[in-house]
């Protein structure tokens, strides 16, 4: 990429940017673009907000019953002399 980024190119680079996977040159192009482009600034903010919201989903929890079942299986297995 030896030209300025278009908005259409910019939106496809966001995850690479956020994951630190862009080359130094592309990182600079990315940051220059967002600095001057309100639409892309909004879009990248929304991607960040989306990621933050993903982190609020529950990881899932264990029922006491399920845990008791697994621990009982473990105790039985030990008792059998392993």
């Amino acid at each position: 990429m030896d030209h300025e980024l278009s908005c259409q190119e910019f939106v496809e680079l966001i995850t690479e940017y956020l994951e630190g996977a862009l080359t130094a040159d592309n990182r600079t192009r990315f940051e220059m673009h967002v600095h001057h482009c309100e639409g892309c600034a909004t879009y990248v903010d929304q991607m960040r907000q989306t990621i933050a919201l993903m982190g609020k989903l529950t990881e899932g929890h264990i029922s006491e019953q399920a845990k008791a079942n697994v621990l009982r299986a473990f105790a039985d297995w030990k008792r059998e002399g392993h």
Binding site: S6, E19, Q46
Partner: protein, 210 residues
């Protein structure tokens, strides 16, 4: 507890260590199993089988991978076996047919031959700045996210779950799923763009009062 200490404790049959491991991973395991099998009962069965395989196999665990990666690989193998048995072959193939090169519709941008601003936004995305925080964080919003995620192609869903929900590091995910960093980022990018789009649509609908 440090990884090596945990492995030693499990090998000596330390129940408290095992309980701590269950607390740490069981919920994540059920969520991941649900990418492969289609109901919670089947997912719980698969996780239970995995724990049994873990304590039976810990003696020969070779530490070539981390304990976490080892446990989750067992889980994925069991879940695949279960999904085959239940006839869910579609999930086994695991192909991601989503090879659309754009995550934002090309209609949103000026054409490439536009004389002034090729590829620029036709119309800027609407800001979410006026979405009240209470609404942003509401159960309804989280429900939209969950439903969108559940409808993603399985590879995208799995990577997004591990990375963005459960906070796994990229290299842990690549190891577990045997995919490249690049592939992982592409999957994550597509998944995030879809969830962002679902939220944008939802917030617009709310604003328009529909």
């Amino acid at each position: 507890m440090q990884e090596q200490a945990m492995i030693e404790a499990l090998r000596t049959g330390d129940e408290a260590a095992f309980a701590a491991l269950i607390d740490a991973y069981h919920g994540q395991m059920v969520r991941l199993a649900l990418v492969y099998v289609h109901d919670t009962t089947a997912a719980e069965d698969v996780v239970q089988e995995t724990w049994i395989a873990v304590f039976k196999g810990i003696g020969s665990f070779g530490a070539r991978s981390s304990l976490k990666t080892w446990i989750f690989s067992i889980l994925i193998n069991r879940a695949k076996t279960r999904s085959t048995r239940d006839g869910k072959h579609a999930h086994l193939a695991f192909a991601d047919h989503d090879d659309e090169p754009y995550t934002v519709s090309p209609d949103r941008f000026l054409p490439k031959d536009d004389p002034h601003y090729p590829g620029a936004w036709q119309e800027d995305p609407q800001s979410w700045a006026n979405v009240p925080e209470a609404h942003m964080l509401s159960q309804e919003t989280l429900g939209i996210i969950q439903a969108t995620m559940d409808a993603l192609p399985p590879q995208q869903r799995q990577v997004m779950l591990l990375h963005d929900v459960q906070g796994w590091l990229s290299d842990e995910i690549c190891n577990l799923l045997s995919i490249t960093e690049t592939n992982q980022r592409v999957l994550l990018h597509r998944a995030r763009a879809r969830v962002r789009q679902a939220l944008a649509t939802y917030f617009e609908d709310v604003r328009d009062g529909s």
